[in-house]
């Protein structure tokens, strides 16, 4: 585990592998931050990994837990920040790696969770857009990302996070696959752009068809349940004031499916990867009994430049940018901008 003291980004610099993506390279300061985390991981015997954040940031971190649980034996857990502090998991300690995330770096619960984990002796890593934020101060390590999509996506939230996760996987259990993921991640900007173009019309049409709906369920499984959670909590409920619930496709038949009716809308993310059959079963059911089913099929995504066996790692990194368009479609046709709030930014709570 300790034999590889460098990181994959460092290795790739100056090689033809890195050149395969034309001129797109992670900024050196970002690469250095990730390397520092990997050095800290290599310097310790990491026994477990905690992903700690709130809301959409927690959902984003959850992809880390998804891949770790599938790929390696080191146990990993996801907690919403306050639950983490109040439950105080017994196995949190000096051999824990705690990865926290807050876009602004100001989420009080997450800042407190960082201090709590640091006091327990854990390696703490803050992921944030704000390098000078309270979260960045509270954690030992900072992994900063730019708030921008597009050509520099490797320095944006997905590029930085996925690089960190696959560097971490490689540090904990070296595998050439993880190296290829890191080498192909600079394709992300191009892929996000192409896929947003590909889904733009369908997303707009979804907004038009559903503009009078008061409730829209989301459904997914595997890694994509976390996209459903974000879409439900942050886009539908928070930004659009539409009632929702993110239902796991495997759980659907054990309670929630009785709510299905001809006029109940579902947005289903049909995943690429091992749990795709679960989604298909749920889709077959809702398409039979509801007239309002929208399927976002991850297998139809454009994966240009990505090796066939790595697609399952890239799907979750791209999907959030595609789903955002479906919220934009609703915003456009309801005349309710995604920036409107009634409580947030307006009062203390």
């Amino acid at each position: 585990m300790k034999q590889d003291q460098g990181t994959l980004i460092e290795e790739a610099v100056g090689t033809t592998e890195a050149k395969s993506v034309q001129g797109v390279e992670m900024k050196p300061e970002h690469a250095a931050q990730i390397s520092a985390v990997i050095d800290a991981v290599n310097a310790k015997k990491i026994e477990n990994v905690y992903f700690v954040a709130c809301g959409g940031s927690m959902a984003s971190l959850s992809f880390g837990e998804y891949f770790l649980s599938k790929e390696i034996e080191t146990p990993s857990f996801v907690y919403t920040s306050n639950e983490f502090i109040h439950r105080a998991p017994k196995s949190l300690g000096e051999n824990s790696l705690v990865i926290l995330r807050s876009h602004s770096g100001t989420t009080p619960e997450t800042v407190e969770a960082a201090s709590f984990a640091k006091a327990k002796g854990a390696v703490t890593v803050a992921i944030s857009m704000e390098a000078e934020s309270p979260l960045a101060q509270a954690a030992e390590h900072l992994v900063h990302y730019n708030y921008k999509d597009g050509s520099d996506a490797i320095d944006g939230e997905a590029g930085i996070f996925y690089t960190l996760i696959f560097e971490l996987l490689n540090a904990l259990s070296p595998n050439e696959k993880y190296k290829r993921v890191v080498n192909q991640l600079p394709n992300l900007g191009n892929l996000i752009e192409k896929n947003q173009q590909q889904f733009a019309e369908a997303a707009n049409e979804f907004g038009k068809k559903n503009k009078r709906e008061k409730i829209i369920y989301t459904m997914a499984s595997g890694a994509y349940i976390h996209h459903a959670y974000s879409f439900t909590s942050c886009l539908l409920m928070e930004m659009l004031w539409i009632h929702s619930n993110a239902i796991h496709s495997g759980e659907f038949f054990h309670g929630p499916f009785e709510i299905t009716d001809y006029d109940v809308p579902f947005l289903v993310v049909k995943g690429e990867g091992s749990s795709r059959p679960l989604d298909q079963r749920a889709i077959d059911f809702v398409e039979k009994f509801s007239d309002k089913v929208e399927v976002v099929d991850i297998a139809t995504l454009n994966y240009d430049g990505i090796d066939e066996d790595l697609k399952e790692y890239f799907g979750p990194a791209i999907t959030g940018f595609v789903l955002r368009l479906y919220a934009d479609g609703l915003a456009e046709h309801t005349g309710h901008p995604l920036s409107v709030r009634r409580y947030m930014w307006k009062m203390d709570y």
Copy 2:
């Protein structure tokens, strides 16, 4: 860990400790089944515990993960059965304990999950009401419970499960507290009855006030989020066809709270235990902005015969029986019996 080869139930038989609950003792065949599981755990070095089931059964098992994560260092995880099979967690293996649950023992995904885990060499335990069910056949061990509440609750689903969990905690990390929990669990029947009496009127009133609601949100944290999940999935959505979403009190302020309005109903379980302040914060908010808030305060439960420091273990064991009354109240006043289904039992899906 291995010094105590017996179980706490065995130790207590014939002592004054066991006599404190008048004449209520677990049936010998149930005690023997739990002892066999503990023997199997003691015979191996258990490195992780998986709780695997669907819907309400998964929610019930989740209390196991809650207490294990708080109390001991052995990592534990909850999976819905299909996700478990398709994700195939890397750390599942010969040193895993996999606890599965299905009321009827026929849930196909859970039966398949048992076979999957057994093939990986894990110790498999089926919890079921049906001793001859496919799940009981597929798993190595069976822990059977009676489908009855009331005076023999120690042999019912909560009594059997909590005895198993606290025997397991004691096997993995011996502690006199766990011994007292097992000794006081025979009080459960009495406590369920008293608490159902105490909450009957409030529950009926809740049904009356909310009988015309099309959507009711539930909210909780800590162990109680699993009660909220069951209430949302199995009682509101499945049995009453009322739209819902179980929101974690700590997540509420990170998206979902923007849905709050004067006419949006919330049922909040205000937990007893470490995450109670999270619930209080969410209650303060919804009570300010919604006219339709129902709080079920776990601290007001009757805990007769339970040591003060053990209340946090007993609250989750009692709460499900109390919340059931709130669904009964809705059933009574909507004229929609909890037994009605439109898809389940009527077709293949």
